[in-house]
Symmetry: C2
Subunit: 159 residues, 2 copies
DNA sequence: GCGCCTTTACTCGGATAAGTAATGTCCGAGTCTGTCAGG
DNA sequence: CCTGACAGACTCGGACATTACTTATCCGAGTAAAGGCGC
């Protein structure tokens, strides 16, 4: 799995604490963890295309959550970065095997494929059960200073 | 996920039907699905290193299951090919963040990491719940000719 | 006829290239803001 | 003093290198079997 998933999740979580209506630039988000700004920007673009973030150009521009944190699951973010296809891609090698037929969709029939798909669904179910709001709530409860500190970082000069 | 997983799973399943004590060469296993022999051989080597298969050199040599099909889970095969590390690797970017401490293992503390780990465990649990014997039994029940056909292919000349 | 040695062919195993995707970087298009001039 | 146009700077967005990894291939070491030779 690509590294951008970690960046995207933490960045989205940070955006959770931004003032409503306030956009945060990619440079500020990158400064949090000393990430390469341009590359993080690339990941954020993917989140915009997925409808998770909205972007604004120009001064005071940047990114913000496109919808409420309660309506954004961890799976949404992962899918936006990694793409919708599942990790195991069935190449239907059974078609080349003995008795293999070209008119059969072995992604549905093949037991190996089914097993892998079932595991993939379990994985997705876990990730879909956690929203950004859940993460935010737990972090706030455990580290009460985080919301304030994050907001300060969003408004402080970049150095 | 790499393509070799699919090859390895189908090859192991085929080996399930080989006569006890009979080894099957990589060339024969590759011929099943018209796979590149040398590359499949590479994957099989990984299975040998993982203790799933045992190999024999020389004429009448090849691969066979190192233990009973009941004792080989799908997860075993996947781990042998893909490696033991989980898909999401936490780079602990929180260390570079505000209040980040170098003496904390954020792979344990970070909520994002915990969420991804929980999903990974669910995925592994599914795969660990299926053994090669389970797959074999279902295939045999659904296609009763498969065991015989497979054995025939293992003994027939290679053309 | 039987046993041993040699040769032969077959197998795995690791070392070595080619192709592809992830990672990282750069510059241009668009836009908002702040300023300055004019009424 | 207010309004409007303009210049400037900041931001995203996509196009372009670089690196790592997957995929693919090749040749050598080892081994078991088969055949021939001697006893």
């Amino acid at each position: 799995m690509t590294e951008g998933v970690e960046w995207a999740l933490h960045s989205c979580l940070n955006l959770t604490w931004s003032e409503p209506g306030q956009a945060v630039s990619a440079a500020r988000l990158a400064a949090f963890y000393q990430l390469p700004t341009a590359y993080l920007n690339k990941q954020l673009q993917a989140l915009v295309r997925a409808g998770i973030l909205s972007s604004t150009s120009g001064p005071r521009g940047g990114f913000r959550l496109a919808r409420a944190a309660e309506a954004i699951t961890v799976l949404d973010v992962v899918v936006a970065i990694e793409g919708p296809e599942e990790a195991f891609r069935c190449e239907q090698i059974l078609r080349q095997g003995p008795g293999g037929r070209g008119d059969v969709d072995y992604r549905q029939v093949c037991l190996v494929s089914q097993t892998m798909r079932r595991a993939d669904l379990a994985w997705r179910r876990e990730l879909a059960g956690q929203t950004l709001a859940d993460l935010r709530a737990t972090v706030q409860q455990r580290y009460p200073d985080t919301p304030g500190n994050t907001r300060d970082r969003f408004t402080a000069p970049l150095t």
